[in-house]
């Protein structure tokens, strides 16, 4: 089960934050096919946001084919996103690489710039 964190001052619409955090959880494997998303009631009780905002986010996720609403049961994950769950070997390699970057004296911005440059080279034409 995921827990949504709403940042009021991020400038990102609240429903978009829910969509993004759900996708992030799908990418990291924290949410997997068959898992139930929290109900609108559970989300708004914890975050005090408007229930329609949650429903709007879930409709958006449904439209993208990531989740499905089952009447009276809740909203369930249909498929996963990406191929990089939290425990994949690729992640371990990236961890190793990041540790090397730290050892080499790179700071966070250096690493981010390097990583973005490589991403741009290998994923030309795909939106970020």
């Amino acid at each position: 089960m995921v827990e949504f964190r709403i940042d009021r001052h991020s400038g990102v619409a609240t429903y978009v934050q829910i969509v993004q955090q759900t996708k992030q959880a799908l990418r990291l494997g924290l949410l997997q096919p068959g898992d139930r998303l929290p109900t609108a009631r559970e989300v708004v009780e914890a975050t005090a946001i408007n229930p329609n905002t949650v429903l709007k986010a879930y409709r958006e996720l449904e439209r993208e084919g990531l989740v499905e609403a089952r009447r009276g049961l809740g909203t369930f994950v249909r498929r996963s996103l990406g191929a990089a769950p939290a425990d994949s070997p690729l992640r371990a390699e990236l961890e190793e690489w990041a540790a090397k970057a730290v050892d080499a004296g790179l700071d966070r911005d250096d690493v981010a710039a390097l990583f973005t440059a490589v991403l741009d080279k290998h994923f030309q034409g795909e939106g970020s």
Partner: protein
Amino acid sequence: MSDTALEATGLGKRFGRRGGWALRDAAFRLPAGRVCALVGPNGAGKSTLLALAAGLLPPTEGRLTVLGGTPAGARARVGFVAQDKPLYPQLTVAETLRMGADLNPERWDAATAEQVVAGGDLDPRSRIRSLSGGQRTRVALALALGKRPELLLLDEPMADLDPLARHELMGTLMAEAAQYGTTIVMSSHVVAELEDSCDHLLLAGSGRIRLAGEIDDLLAAHLRVSGAAESTDLSAHTVVESRVTGRQLTALIRPAGPLPGDLRTSVPSLEELVLAHLRNPGAPALSAAPAVTQGSAA
């Protein structure tokens, strides 16, 4: 069940024959199931409107329907928490809740009422008169929620509460709305406090309803624009507010057609929208609610 929680036409209230109008020419429609922010400065008519909706005051002119009927007829299905949180000071917390159960025999939801009280670490045996303002608010909200109303009217509900209790109780209200489709109207003069929780807005100013509608629709109907003061002509549009600083003009407008190409535009925030209307009482009112009363919204 009516699909309209509140509908006002030409609604006005004057206190005393010679008194000023606390509210005048109010016309709006609030669909059922919305969480509505009733916003405006002190003396704008917010409390008067809520008391009219609760059936505690008769209108001087015009009409107000509540859940499809008269305010008095709807009272059993309406929960109202007035600004001063009226409770019986000599009763204990537990006795107050028992009173709620006795007064609402068909609908009382003891679990919800007790949960709201329990969140505040309140001793059920303490007398209401010994409670702090925030604790009394909690008991008053417990009483109103325990009634399981279809329409919940809250006058400045969060004013006495600390930030933690505010967040918790707002969460409880939202959960109620999510589960039962309860329509909630809550007043405040702080817009930011309600922005995330509400999807509908009623803006009151000087006894008039200045803006009414879905917040998304109201925001979409306005634009913040800026451009060169000399060459910018906005006369084709409704200008809510405009200001010239040096050579630059900035304005909040309701566009009525295409804009000159050399303007920079952005969507206003809810707070900007509200403040611009309050600073400019002459700006025309806008009711963005769909005019249709019947039929369901998809």
